[in-house]
């Protein structure tokens, strides 16, 4: 019965607009919006014609607006006793709930409509991209719908408006903050991702950037649906009031309904979780539309890829507007990477500066800033680091932007961020490929042979080495799908073998100490295909050192890896060069 829904909605709207509380909250909402937009988010300082700060704060602002709108809906009916009138009318409970919901949504729609002057003003100041604005409003309505359903549920449980207001605000805030970085960052990466998937705020992030994702829409809609079902059941529960759950009541059926609704909500969201393609890019230039090439490159990754953006807060005014756009764009890689790509942004501190300078050679760039009242030089960062395994690539601002200058106007734009970043990813991913994939591809056998004397002959500090080796080899072995084997050979007392390894690999027994007659063998030999190489663990003989050394040797012996070759042209002849240069593959 559509008429009933409309009648209830009309009644609610009328009493909302007659009650000062709803109007006061509406006013506070609008003032809050303006304050956050202009003052808190420094609209004029950002120098960017967009309304993102508006949308990034809407999920928070709407909590209060919606709590205020919903608090009286059922509470007052209960307190005044008018719920009895409604529930004894020949109407379905569902229609009552939908009527109230529709009224609340109409009120929120009015509130959102009243924020419309903001984007209109911005569009007069600069070139505003209306796609994300439209998407933002749609999403804001969806978020409000979810809050509204929660608020109605809470309101149905109490006849005290203030309690309803506070509990609703609390529940909605919890749902908002559960996905925020400050909470999701506390737990591990996987749990954090789950929390982000649950949070109403984190779900809003991509929408806020101008990307409508089916999963986000499904999240909001399904939760809205769930809480509306819950609300209907709460009202039905009033009919059962105080009845113990003996078999004759409808209580089990109601629990079943609630359970099934919850299950469907969860199932829908889980089912949609892997669907990464159902996204609509609302920006005019398709800023977030990543090409198939990039998707292909990301799909080919086997190891975690890290993209880190180093951006200083104080930067050249012409670069500043590019930072949020670049950040948004990089975040898109994380979305597309399906868990393999992590994107993070770092504001370099003195400590980090030193570290990134040392490790990646990232140095701040001095910019000369000349303003009306100041003339200054700012050292700031505008770098993107792409890291894959041990390989990395740094994109500095020269790589990322292009500058158009005519007589009196300088324009700075992102050159082609996707091309730049994807090329860097391609470069590092080809530079570093995991052992597994390479060994698998080449179908090669790697054989590690340790020529080691029995433990009693070894010096004290080496006694542990055979055991450690075994451990490392055991750990490496299974992962290689049988392509890696390991054996320990004892050359002591085997003159023929000693002769053989001396001739082939120049392995000689070593003295325990310079004055001792005791000799022992401890040599590691790795054979990959027809290539053999002696391994010298660097640094020490810990498990980690051994593993690094062995993995490095396997890589050196396998085609398809980047190799760095040093030539030593010392007087002693070309032996070292001989040994190193024998690696097959494509030296670079």
């Amino acid at each position: 019965m559509k008429g009933a829904i409309r009648t209830i909605a009309r009644k609610e709207l009328r009493s909302s607009f007659l009650s000062p509380i709803a109007l006061i909250f509406l006013g506070v909402f609008l003032v809050g919006t303006l304050f956050i937009f202009f003052t808190y988010s420094k609209f004029f300082v950002r120098n960017l014609a967009d309304v993102r700060p508006l949308f990034s704060w809407l999920p928070v602002l709407l909590i209060f607006l919606v709590s205020a709108v919903t608090m009286r809906q059922w509470s007052e009916e209960q307190k005044m006793g008018t719920l009895e009138i409604l529930l004894t009318l020949p109407l379905r409970t569902r229609d009552l709930v939908l009527g109230k919901f529709a009224a609340g949504m109409a009120l929120v729609a009015v509130a959102l409509l009243l924020t419309l002057p903001l984007p209109i003003t911005v569009s007069m100041l600069g070139e505003l991209d209306w796609g994300p604005v439209l998407g933002g409003y749609v999403a804001a309505l969806l978020v409000a719908g979810m809050y509204m359903a929660i608020g109605l549920c809470v309101s149905a449980r109490t006849d005290n408006q203030i309690v309803a207001l506070m509990v609703t605000a609390l529940v909605c805030s919890a749902l908002y903050f559960i996905g925020s970085d400050s909470v999701a960052g506390l737990v591990g990466a996987d749990a954090g991702n789950v929390l982000r998937g649950l949070g109403s705020g984190s779900r809003f992030l991509s929408i806020e950037r101008g990307v409508l994702d089916l999963r986000d829409l499904a999240y909001y809609l399904s939760l809205t649906g769930f809480f509306l079902v819950l609300n209907v059941q709460f009202l039905e529960l009033k009919r059962l009031e105080g009845q113990p759950g003996d078999g004759k009541t409808r209580r089990p059926a109601m629990l079943l309904t609630i359970g099934l609704a919850a299950l469907n909500t969860v199932a829908l969201n889980l089912w949609l979780a892997p669907v990464t393609k159902a996204r609509a890019d609302l920006t005019a230039d398709g800023e977030y539309s990543i090409s198939d090439v990039t998707t292909g490159v990301l799909a080919g990754l086997n190891e975690p890829l890290e993209i880190t953006g180093y951006f200083s807060e104080k930067t050249h005014p012409l670069l500043a507007p590019l930072v949020p756009r670049l950040k948004d764009f990089l975040s898109e890689y994380q979305v597309r990477g399906g868990g393999k790509v992590t994107v993070s942004f770092v504001e370099p501190t003195a400590e980090i500066e030193e570290e990134i300078d040392e490790q990646y050679g990232i140095k701040s760039v001095p910019f000369r800033i000349s303003g009306q009242n100041e003339e200054a030089v700012v050292n700031s960062y505008f770098h993107v680091l792409v890291r894959y395994g041990s390989e990395y690539e740094v994109l500095s601002f020269q790589d990322l932007i292009e500058i158009h200058a005519d007589d009196n106007d300088v324009q700075v734009r992102l050159r082609n961020a996707e091309y730049d970043v994807t090329r860097a990813i391609k470069k590092v991913s080809q530079g570093f490929e995991s052992l597994e994939s390479v060994l698998a591809r080449n179908n090669q056998q790697a054989k590690l042979t340790a020529y080691i004397s029995p433990a009693e002959k070894l010096p004290a500090e080496f006694k542990e080495v055979p055991d450690r080796l075994k451990k490392v080899a055991d750990a490496l072995g299974p992962k290689r799908g049988g392509r890696f084997s390991f054996e320990i050979v004892n050359p002591d007392g085997n003159a023929a073998l000693q002769q053989d390894i001396l001739a082939r690999y120049r392995f000689q027994p070593m003295a325990v100490d310079p004055f001792s007659e005791d000799r022992f063998f401890m040599h590691l030999l790795l054979q990959t295909g027809d290539h053999a190489e002696q391994i010298f663990p660097q640094g020490g003989l810990s498990e980690a050192d051994l593993r690094t050394a062995i993995e490095a040797a396997i890589k050196r012996g396998t085609p398809g890896f980047l190799k760095t070759i040093g030539l030593y042209d010392g007087g002693a002849g070309g032996r070292a060069a001989d040994a190193l240069g024998s690696a097959p593959g494509n030296p670079q």
Partner: protein, 314 residues
């Protein structure tokens, strides 16, 4: 028209209504009488589909409220206790909303509203906000909202509660007028109201059905009042042996006499009582046949219930 069958409702461990059955025929005005908390309101709430019974059911016009709540609610107009309304609405807004929610077709709404307004005497009050109305007019507004769809059954929960005497008289005559084409169940704890309006009374005590009779039946039981000298022994036992005596109750003892109320089958039992008293040699100071008041009947039923409950507890 209405059939209540072994109705039971528990709130947690409290039994508000237990095993209540009664029927209401078309066109009757039935009063639901009981002390506060006797379960009157609960029965009505179940009847109107606001609450679900723990066991038993109610059928209205052959429709079972447990099977088809909406089907029952269509036939019923309900005025809940103390007539809850939306205070910020105008009377006409409220009636228009109720007409819409009742599903009255748009072209018949105006007629339905004006009929209800005329029936409840609300002409001239339509543009008043409800919160400015007096209690009596609020009651009328609630009643108008309940009769918009010309229901077969009208359920009124304490319709005269909290009204002044003039308003009470007006509401009662209103109810009598409505009763011409409606079956009415009204609850009250005011005995005179039953006598003034109802043709039949259902008495609930502590959630149990204590009586279900027409008023004439209930008040027709003959009573003989007897007063004997204080301290006369074995009065009740002797009287119980007399033919035609149904029940003997001690009324009070004051002024040197013990008063008894003797329920009898008919007026012809009175001489037999006199004879028995003479035979026993009592100092009789009064023997008088009487008709009981509803109040007296109600008090007897209460006392019966209490003694039964005590007997059960013992």
């Amino acid at each position: 028209m209405i059939s209540v069958q072994s109705l039971e409702k528990r709130y947690g461990t409290v039994r508000a209504v237990s095993d209540v059955s009664f029927e209401v025929a078309r066109g009757e005005i039935v009063g639901l009488l009981g002390h506060n908390g006797a379960g009157k309101t609960t029965v009505m709430k179940i009847m109107t589909g606001f609450l679900e019974p723990t066991a038993g059911t109610v059928t209205v016009g052959g429709v079972d409220v447990r099977q088809d709540r909406i089907g029952v609610q269509r036939q019923i107009g309900y005025l809940p206790e103390s007539a809850p309304l939306y205070p910020e609405m105008l009377v006409q807004e409220y009636l228009a909303m109720m007409a819409e929610l009742r599903g009255i077709p748009a072209d018949k709404r105006r007629a339905a509203i004006s009929d209800a307004v005329r029936a409840t005497g609300l002409e001239g009050w339509l543009t008043r906000p409800i919160h400015t109305l007096s209690k009596g007019y609020r009651q009328r507004t609630g009643l108008a909202g309940a009769i918009l769809h010309k229901p077969e059954v009208l359920v009124l929960d304490e319709p005269t509660n909290g009204l002044d005497p003039v308003q009470i008289i007006e509401i009662r005559s209103l109810i009598r007028r409505l009763a011409r084409d409606t079956t009415i169940i009204l609850s009250t704890h005011i005995l005179s109201e039953i006598e003034a309006v109802c043709s039949r009374v259902v008495i609930l005590i502590d959630g149990h059905l204590a009586a279900n009779n027409t008023l004439t039946e209930l008040l027709s039981t003959d009573i003989v009042r007897l007063a004997v000298a204080a301290g006369t022994p074995r009065v009740a036992e002797t009287l119980k042996g007399v033919a035609g005596v149904l029940e003997v109750r001690t009324a009070d003892s004051a002024g040197g006499v013990d008063r008894y109320r003797v329920k009898v089958k008919g007026p012809e039992a009175a001489p037999a009582i006199v004879k028995a008293a003479m035979g026993a040699g009592w100092a009789v100071s009064e023997v008088a046949p009487a008709t009981p008041s509803l109040e007296q009947v109600f008090r007897d039923l209460m006392a019966d219930h209490v003694s039964r409950a005590q007997g059960k507890a013992a």
